[in-house]
């Protein structure tokens, strides 16, 4: 057992158990904090895969911006406790069966293609991080310049849309 393997197994356990915590927690704030933990472990996975830019973007965008937005809304809505009763009695067993089928299909495809993944199992062990970042920036701002600019328009549209949506209608009180 070397260090990388132990790290991977521990991180995988944390990721899966925090996702399970998200699914079962009744309190919405706890669910959001479980999701932050999950995002943080995925960021460490990105670091292990030699993608430091994506790892830090994950921490700032997901764990930072998006989850803070979630927490704002949770606190705005008073972290409402919903009634526990099931509207559809067959919903939960059916959902569990469907999710198991999805996982089994993914696993089947994964192991059917195992020869492909095995042939890819040994990339060069060390990645030159600085060089990777340089190439990433060059690719993003040359080959993918137009999509990058389009994302700025997308964010602008989202911002204007949210402002229009949440604006109070004329004559609506407080």
């Amino acid at each position: 057992m070397n260090l990388t393997l132990i790290l991977f197994i521990v991180l995988a356990a944390v990721a899966v158990s925090s996702a399970a915590g998200l699914l079962v927690s009744r309190n919405t704030v706890y669910a959001a904090l479980f999701l932050v933990l999950n995002f943080a472990t995925v960021a460490v996975f990105y670091l292990m895969l030699g993608a430091p830019f994506i790892a830090l973007a994950q921490v700032t965008i997901y764990a930072g911006a998006i989850m803070v937005l979630f927490l704002f809304v949770i606190m705005l809505l008073g972290s409402e406790k919903l009634p526990r009763g099931q509207a559809l009695p067959f919903q939960r067993p059916l959902a569990i069966v469907l999710a198991t089928v999805l996982l089994a299909e993914a696993g089947f495809l994964l192991f059917q293609r195992l020869r492909l993944t095995a042939s890819l199992a040994n990339p060069e062990a060390s990645v030159n991080t600085t060089e990777t970042l340089r190439i990433l920036g060059m690719t993003l701002f040359n080959q993918y310049l137009l999509p990058f600019e389009v994302t700025s328009v997308l964010l602008l549209v989202a911002m204007v849309g949210v402002i229009v949506l949440t604006k109070k209608q004329k004559g609506e009180q407080g």
Partner: protein
């Protein structure tokens, strides 16, 4: 020293996270938690993208992940605004009450 982790392990953890996100969308009735489960699924897909990018030795996957993050940020902003408006109109965010369009 570093024996690298096989690609299939990363894909397996990505598949597990994706299935748990799908399960969350199906079993929970709080729209905020459904929304967080959608984020979990996007994140699992991102993990698969980065793993493939590493093992094929190309950086395009990382750039795609960057775009996915941007789109999901926009999506969260609009979706949470919709949830706030629904709360303002119905004074509850239970998904069972969102049946105004039902014939």
């Amino acid at each position: 020293m570093a024996q690298t982790i096989p690609l299939s392990w990363y894909l397996a953890i990505s598949a597990v996270l994706f299935a748990m996100g799908a399960l969350g969308v199906l079993i929970r009735r709080n729209p905020l938690i459904i929304f967080m489960s959608v984020e979990l699924m996007l994140n699992a897909a991102n993990l698969a993208f980065v793993a493939f990018a590493r093992f094929f030795g190309v950086l395009t996957g990382q750039i795609f992940v960057f775009f996915v993050m941007t789109v999901s940020a926009a999506e969260v902003a609009v979706g949470l605004a919709l949830i706030v408006i629904i709360f303002r109109n119905k004074h509850s965010i239970d998904v069972d009450l969102m049946n105004s369009l039902k014939g």
